[in-house]
Symmetry: C2
DNA sequence: ACACTATTCCATAGATTAGTGGAATAGTCA
DNA sequence: TGACTATTCCACTAATCTATGGAATAGTGT
């Protein structure tokens, strides 16, 4: 009797984990962590067919990780709550610390990772108070529009070269993007440094900032 | 190129989640969170065949969640690190908060849950300092032996009735077991209250205590 | 060397999951 | 109303996962 309860309960927990057990779904969740999006949009950015995307979203919804609302023709999905972001952080953290393959990937693709001097949130707050830094959001403009760090400037990575002068005049740049493993901020900091600017990478991305309860500005 | 990195990385994270995506494996992890155990032992307590247990353990090992060491004939498995416990906590938490089926299960099997007044760790520390409480570990003695709260008394649930007198003389009882959803402490507190003792349940179990960096006593 | 034990490896049948195409649904726009 | 769009539902194939039994491996004790 109690034995059944235990089995049943673990089976339920397993459902949640199973929903996370697919790379495409994790990618969808990362996009959703930036803000609400409709199915077509998600299909486009993730490179999946619309139907397939829809099915994955259903699975995520069935285990309560996302919810949806219908507006006009579109169905907009979003994360059910910020604790989903924390769960993702947890999975990523364990994977990075204990899975050798992840270390290899990170080391080969993310330019030594620590060479770009990731800045902790606490330090950023201090710097911002002293007016020494420009906070730079290098995500696509839709994601910036859906929510971003207060006072952050949005320059999508592709347009970075055209805005070098503005950045050059305004002290050190701290760039962030979708999360700690997203390449956008890495790439941005590298390019900025290549042009002689002082630039560092924020340790976490927008979703982690928001999930930590920090203030968010939308536009 | 960067796109491949992203897909590959998410695929790796998914491997970790997939390893958690099975009730039997979650149960094995919960047992391992109590302390090191060999395959046969794990098979027995989880009700799986030895071969099957071994295969599940391999999967957990492949994604770095557990490690093993060989001693004599036996292979002993243990969690790779305490952050695996935190990951499990995270999964359970999200499931409990967002999955209706879990709420139903918890409410029907766990005696109203909050009626037993779960005590937070901070409060326990305070009480212990004042010498007002007996900390009671109701897990099987092997698990107690592998590690327990400092000063805790071990009375496995089955033997509770024989030790009522000892407990009656020593103030309030705070019982804990394998984790926040484990039935042992619930059951213990109910029985103790039924016999007229003052008893409460510790909010978390031994693994969470240990993973939080609190001191642990082994015997 | 021998029998013995605990664990792992391998092959296999049944169950589950991922992705595809066609059809159904609900809402919009003219 | 009818044409159109975004999304979901359904059916189907290929791939993956679970549990089982038989065989192999490594270590123990005699």
């Amino acid at each position: 009797m109690a034995g059944n309860f235990k089995k049943d309960l673990f089976a339920q927990f397993a459902r949640v984990a199973k929903a996370l057990g697919n790379g495409h779904r994790l990618e969808l969740l990362e996009f959703l962590a930036q803000g609400e999006r409709n199915v077509e949009d998600l299909a486009r950015v993730s490179g999946l067919s619309v139907r397939n995307t829809s099915q994955h979203l259903q699975q995520l919804r069935q285990v309560g990780l996302v919810t949806s609302r219908k507006q006009g023709l579109h169905v907009y999905y979003r994360l059910t709550s910020d604790d989903v972001v924390q769960l993702l952080q947890c999975v990523r953290g364990v994977a990075e610390r204990h899975l050798a393959d992840v270390k290899v990937l990170v080391d080969t693709y993310l330019t030594v990772k620590d060479a770009l001097e990731p800045m902790p949130v606490a330090e950023l707050l201090e710097r911002v108070r002293q007016g020494e830094v420009t906070v730079l959001d290098v995500r696509p403009s839709e994601e910036y529009a859906a929510g971003h760090l207060p006072g952050a400037v949005n320059i999508p990575l592709a347009e970075l070269e055209q805005h070098l002068d503005e950045l050059r005049d305004s002290g050190e740049v701290v760039a962030y993007c979708r999360g700690p493993h997203c390449v956008l901020a890495f790439e941005a900091v590298e390019r900025l440094r290549g042009k002689g600017l002082k630039a560092r990478r924020l340790q976490d991305g927008f979703p982690e900032w928001k999930a930590a309860g920090m203030p968010v500005e939308a536009e």
